[in-house]
C-alpha cells in the first residue's frame, strides 16, 4: 500500500459520509465532520467471489445488534461492494449527537456475517476537501471541549482549552474514482453557504498540500435557462469518458469528462428530469449483452433505467413538454436508497420496505 501513499495510522471519521472503492481494494471515505477524504486499506479477508446473488433481510437490525443499538440508531449513509470478494461495506453513523460515531461496517458475502473495519488502526492517507474556510474567514465558533481537543489560550492570566470550529462547511454528496496515472477521485459537494455546483478532482495517490482542483458546472433547461446547482449523485460510464450527474433540482445531465478542466466553464447537456417533488439518491452503471445501462434511485418513483446509447444520442432538452428527455423505464422497485455493482450479473440494492426495515437485495441485470 506504500505505493499509494498509505501509512499506518488512524482514520478519525467524525461524521460518516459517502464511500467508494479505488485501486487495490482501497476504500475512499468522506468525513462530513472534518471535510476530509480518507483512503483506507480495508484489508478485506475474503477470497474472490463468484457470480451468485446475495440477499440479506433486516440489515439495520443486524447491524444494530452488532453495534449494540436499536435499528433506528443505525444511519446507513452509503454502500460499496469490494471488487474482488464482493463483501459489502456500509458507511454507518451509529447513534446521534455527541453519542454518534462513524463506523465502517463489513457484511460478509455469502454468509452475511457482520464485522467492522477498525478505523483507529489502518493503513491510511487523507486529503482535505477544497472548501475549507478561507484564511481570512474569521468566523469560528469557539467552544470549550470536554476532552483534550482544541488549543490552550490564556485570558487575563488564566489558561483554558478552547476549540475553534469553522462555520462554513462542505458536505460530500457523492464520490467517483477514475482509474488513470494518476487516478482521480471526483467529489461532489453541497456548501452550507453559497449555492454552487462545484466538482472537485483530487489526484490519487494524494499529494501533499493542496491537491484538489475544482470547477463550477452549469446545466441548461429547455434551451432557455442556465443554472448552477449542487450535484446530488453521479456516475462515470462509457469507460470513464462520460459523467451522468443528477442535481438536487432533479435534471439528469451528461458531461464529457474532458470538459471538466479547471478554469473553464463546463455546461452539461440535460438529458432527463426526474419529475416534481423528487430527489435523486444514487446511480450505478452496468452492462448487459454488450450494452451499458444506468440505474437511478430516487425518492418518489421506482428505479429508473436509462440506456447509455440513448444518452449519447439525445439532443439537449429544449421543449418543456412531458415526458421529456431520454427514453427510460421505470421499474416497480420502491424504497431503494443505495445501489452498487455486486458482480457482472447483479446490482446490489439497499431497499426499505413499507415499515422502514432495510434489506440488501440482488437485482439480476438481465431482468432489469
Amino acid at each position: 500500500m506504500s505505493e499509494y501513499g498509505l501509512r499506518p495510522g488512524s482514520a478519525q471519521v467524525q461524521s460518516a459520509g459517502p464511500i467508494t472503492f479505488g485501486p487495490a481494494g482501497i476504500l475512499f471515505l468522506a468525513d462530513n465532520g472534518s471535510a476530509r477524504v480518507f483512503a483506507v486499506d480495508v484489508a478485506d479477508p475474503g477470497p474472490a467471489a463468484g457470480p451468485e446473488p446475495f440477499d440479506l433481510a433486516d440489515v439495520d437490525v443486524r447491524i444494530g445488534s452488532y453495534l449494540g443499538c436499536e435499528a433506528d440508531q443505525v444511519d446507513i449513509r452509503d454502500m460499496a461492494v469490494h471488487p474482488e470478494s464482493h463483501n459489502v461495506y456500509l458507511s454507518v453513523q451509529r447513534g446521534r449527537g455527541d453519542a454518534g460515531k462513524a463506523v465502517l461496517v463489513r457484511i460478509g458475502v455469502p454468509d452475511g456475517t457482520v464485522s467492522d473495519v477498525p478505523l483507529g488502526e489502518v493503513l491510511v492517507a487523507e486529503a482535505a476537501i477544497g472548501d475549507a474556510p478561507a484564511e481570512d474567514d474569521e468566523r469560528q465558533d469557539i467552544t470549550i471541549p470536554t476532552g483534550e481537543q482544541g488549543e490552550e489560550v490564556t485570558y487575563g492570566g488564566r489558561t483554558i482549552r478552547i476549540m475553534r470550529r469553522p462555520i462554513r462547511t462542505s458536505t460530500v454528496t457523492d464520490m467517483v474514482y477514475l482509474d488513470g496515472d494518476p487516478g482521480s477521485l471526483l467529489v461532489a459537494g453541497l456548501s452550507n453557504e453559497e449555492f454552487s455546483s462545484r466538482l472537485r478532482r483530487i489526484p490519487f495517490p494524494f499529494g501533499g498540500g493542496v491537491t484538489a482542483s475544482s470547477l463550477e458546472i452549469f446545466h441548461v433547461s429547455h434551451g432557455k435557462w442556465e443554472t448552477a446547482a449542487p450535484i446530488r449523485t453521479f456516475v462515470a460510464y462509457d469507460g470513464g469518458d462520460s459523467i451522468l450527474a443528477s442535481y438536487t433540482c432533479t435534471p439528469v445531465v451528461h458531461f464529457p469528462l474532458a470538459s471538466l478542466a479547471p478554469g473553464t466553464k463546463a455546461v452539461g447537456r440535460t438529458v432527463a428530469e426526474l419529475g416534481a417533488m423528487n430527489q435523486p439518491l444514487d446511480m450505478v452503471s452496468f452492462a448487459d449483452q454488450g450494452e451499458e445501462y444506468l440505474l437511478v434511485a430516487n425518492t418518489s418513483h421506482g428505479l429508473i433505467k436509462i440506456a447509455a446509447r440513448d444518452i449519447n444520442g439525445q439532443a439537449p432538452l429544449t421543449t418543456p413538454r412531458e415526458p421529456v428527455g431520454v427514453p427510460r423505464e421505470r421499474k416497480d422497485l420502491q424504497g431503494i436508497t443505495r445501489l452498487a455493482n455486486l458482480n457482472g450479473g447483479y446490482v446490489l440494492a439497499l431497499q426499505a420496505d413499507e415499515e422502514g426495515r432495510r434489506q440488501l437485495r440482488s437485482l439480476k441485470t438481465s431482468s432489469l
Binding site: 444494530g64 449527537g97 433547461s221 430527489q279
Partner: protein
C-alpha cells in the same frame, strides 16, 4: 464457564470501562459463553461486539461501542437469557433553544432560497426533516414539499447553525418541479418557518421551546447582486467612525459575514469590527485604527448572494435571451471610497 444456580447481572465497570458484570458462573474448560444484544434483536442476529474480561470470580462484557442510554440489552449465558438490563437515561433539563432564524427581513422574495437557524448549543443530526417546517400564516397549514430536507443536513462544524434550503426545483424556471407544482410561496401570502421543540440537541434533549419567524412575500428577485448600486457613507479621515454600506436589497446572512473586506490606500486590509445591519440590508466596519486619507476599496467576494441565490457573478437561473445576465468572471469586485478630509 457455565451457569450455576442464580446468576447475577449488573451494570458495572472494569479497568475504567463500562461493562455488564456477570457473577455466579462456574468455570469450565471451554471458557465463558456470554453474549449481549439489544433486547429488540432476537438471537438470530449478531452478538454485540465486545470482549469478555475476567474480574475476580466474575466475567465482565466490555462493549466495542458504548451502551446507548435508554436501550435495553439481553444478556445471554450459555444460550439462555440470563436477564435484561436497561441502560439508565439521566433526567436532563431542556436548556437549548433557537437563538435566531435568518433572514431577519420582514419581507422575502417569492424565490427565497434558504434559511439559517442558529441554536444556543450543539445539536444532533437527523431531526431537521421532521422538526423544521413552513406553515401558512393565515391557516397554520404545513406547506409540504417546500423545503429541501435531504439526508445531507447542512451544519456548521460545531452543529450550532443549520442551513435549510427551499427546494430549488420549485424555484428555478423551466424545471419540471416549478412547472408542475409551482413556487412554494405566493406573493402577498405570509408564512412562518417553525422549529418545534422535538428537535434534539447533541445530548439528546428536546429544545426548551419551539421557535418561529414570520415573513411577508414580495416579488421575485432575479438580478445579479450589484455593488455599484450600494450606498457607501464614507467616514471622516483620522477618526474611528464606522464605514456604513447600504444595500439595495437584503443579502444572505451567512455569506455577508465573510464576503466583504476593506483595504486602505496601501492595499493592506483595514482591521476592525465587521457587523451586518438590520434585516441584512447594510454592513458596518468600525476600524481599529483611525481611517487614513486617500482611496480605500470595499472588496466584494463574487460569491456574495442575495436571499434568492443571485450572486455578484451570476443570476440564480439565467434567461439565455438576456445577454446582460451572462455569468461574470469570478473575481472580487472593488468599490472605491475616500474618507472625507
Amino acid at each position: 464457564m457455565s451457569p450455576a444456580g442464580a446468576l447475577g447481572i449488573a451494570w458495572s465497570h472494569v479497568g475504567g470501562a463500562d461493562c455488564v458484570r456477570v457473577s455466579g458462573l462456574v468455570l469450565t474448560a471451554t471458557g465463558a459463553d456470554v453474549q449481549v444484544r439489544p433486547a429488540a434483536a432476537s438471537c438470530e442476529f449478531p452478538a454485540m461486539a465486545g470482549r469478555l474480561v475476567p474480574d475476580g470470580n466474575d466475567v465482565c462484557f466490555v462493549p466495542r461501542f458504548p451502551f446507548v442510554e435508554g436501550t435495553s440489552y439481553a444478556i445471554v449465558v450459555a444460550g439462555g437469557t440470563a436477564g435484561v438490563l436497561t441502560r439508565p437515561r439521566p433526567e436532563r433539563l431542556a436548556t437549548t433553544g433557537v437563538l435566531t432564524i435568518y433572514p431577519t427581513a420582514a419581507e422575502v422574495p417569492r424565490n427565497l432560497l434558504r434559511f439559517y437557524i442558529w441554536f444556543s448549543a450543539p445539536m444532533s443530526e437527523g431531526y431537521a426533516a421532521e422538526h423544521v417546517r413552513l406553515v401558512g400564516a393565515a391557516d397554520n397549514h404545513p406547506m409540504t414539499g417546500a423545503l429541501l430536507l435531504t439526508d445531507s443536513e447542512l451544519w456548521s462544524a460545531d452543529r450550532r447553525r443549520l442551513t435549510v434550503l427551499l427546494d430549488p426545483a420549485r424555484i428555478k424556471r423551466g424545471l419540471v418541479g416549478q412547472r408542475q407544482v409551482g413556487y412554494p410561496f405566493r406573493r402577498g401570502a405570509p408564512f412562518r418557518v417553525v422549529v418545534d421543540d422535538g428537535f434534539r440537541d447533541a445530548l439528546g434533549r428536546p429544545l426548551r421551546g419551539a421557535a418561529d419567524r414570520g415573513y411577508a412575500v414580495g416579488a421575485d428577485e432575479r438580478r445579479r447582486v450589484d455593488p455599484g448600486a450600494w450606498t457607501i457613507c464614507a467616514p471622516p479621515a483620522r477618526t474611528r467612525q464606522p464605514l456604513d454600506v447600504g444595500f439595495d436589497r437584503p443579502l444572505d446572512h451567512g455569506l455577508l459575514a465573510r464576503c466583504l473586506h476593506v483595504t486602505g490606500p496601501d492595499g493592506q486590509p483595514v482591521a476592525g469590527l465587521r457587523a451586518p445591519g438590520p434585516e441584512e440590508r447594510s454592513w458596518r466596519l468600525t476600524p481599529r485604527q483611525p481611517w487614513a486619507s486617500g482611496a480605500h476599496q470595499l472588496i466584494v467576494d463574487p460569491v456574495l448572494e442575495d436571499l434568492a441565490g443571485n450572486s455578484v457573478s451570476r443570476v440564480f437561473d439565467r434567461d439565455l435571451a438576456r445577454p446582460d445576465d451572462e455569468p461574470r468572471q469570478a473575481r472580487p469586485v472593488g468599490v472605491t471610497f475616500n474618507p472625507s478630509v
